[in-house]
């Protein structure tokens, strides 16, 4: 695949439109479905960008995101948003974020940021050249996350464990201290 720019632009415009629908729609279920469509488009974009591992992970995670968000919205009866929007807050935040966009475009356009399609790869060159002889893993991404930067992966697994533990603690019906008080 030599020139992926048309496919990438199509997917990005689709993602932007899907995000606008997800943000501005009045029904929470439509918003959840729209943000999930954005996620699936993101998965296809990862495939075009030469990242099949990321694409597969994004696909699986996206299905789980859809399930979790629907569980959070559909079983509750008050899912429609009936209140009108606050015009002053909307205009003020749009102006503010427009300024953020403008300054971001100035910074990225003027400094020596690498152009699209020409990464620096100062660190990754070592990984690509020595990945197979040093770790015997044909997939360089796997050799990085499980060997070269395994401590990063360990830390991120800790974050994942902590967040799931927090979700379980919030969703738990009865506390342990309450039971002890009742039995004593």
């Amino acid at each position: 695949m030599e020139n992926i720019a048309p496919q990438l632009y199509t997917l990005l415009v689709f993602m932007v439109v899907g995000s606008i629908i997800a943000i501005e729609t009045k029904n929470l279920l439509s918003a959840v479905i729209s943000v999930s469509a954005v996620g699936f488009a993101l998965s296809i974009a990862f495939l075009f960008l030469g990242a099949p591992d990321i694409a597969i992970t994004q696909l699986v995670v996206e299905v789980l995101v859809l399930i979790i968000l629907i569980r959070g919205t559909i079983l509750l009866d008050n899912t429609a948003i009936e209140k009108g929007r606050d015009t002053l807050a909307m205009v003020a935040s749009l102006i503010f974020f427009g300024m953020i966009l403008g300054f971001g475009a100035l910074i990225f356009g003027s400094t020596g940021f690498p152009a699209f399609g020409e990464p620096l790869m100062r660190v990754s060159k070592v990984y690509v050249q020595t990945g197979l002889p040093a770790t015997y893993a044909a997939n360089i991404v796997a050799s990085i996350i499980l060997d070269f930067r395994a401590y990063d992966t360990l830390g991120e697994a800790t974050v994942l464990f902590a967040s799931i533990l927090g979700a379980l603690a919030i969703l738990r019906r009865t506390g342990k201290a309450g039971e002890e008080v009742v039995s004593a």
Binding site: M1, V35, F46, Q58, V61, L69, F108, S163
Partner: protein, 115 residues
């Protein structure tokens, strides 16, 4: 450069949804959109023109290794996606508890959160 700009547009839209919307599920959706934008941005930074996926196959010489896209952002984004899922589960759990306690998703109607 336009690709980067579209990513920043996506990020800004997520930020707007996070700040300006009153519904807490809408805020969660804004955070998810920001997550997508940052992940896509990091992968796009590592893309090389005409690049292939960084998987070594039998019979590849070192000149073909030069065509690989940058594997380092991919390795970092891979775990970032999964962490995004964990954080989303935590936030939705909080949303469900707030709904059970107050009967609404609207921030302005939850009087106990008022400062």
């Amino acid at each position: 450069m336009t690709v980067y700009f579209l990513c920043v547009v996506l990020l800004t839209m997520g930020l707007y949804c996070l700040v300006a919307k009153k519904n807490i599920v809408k805020k969660v959706i804004g955070l998810v959109i920001m997550d997508y934008a940052v992940n896509l941005y990091l992968i796009i930074i590592g893309y090389k023109k005409g690049g292939v996926a960084p998987v070594v196959e039998r019979g590849m010489n070192s000149a073909m290794l030069e065509r690989f896209v940058d594997p380092l952002p991919q390795a970092l984004v891979l775990t970032s996606i999964v962490i995004g899922l964990g954080v989303l589960a935590l936030m939705v759990a909080m949303c469900i508890r707030i709904y059970e306690r107050h009967g609404t998703f609207d921030m302005s109607q939850i009087s106990k959160l008022r400062g």
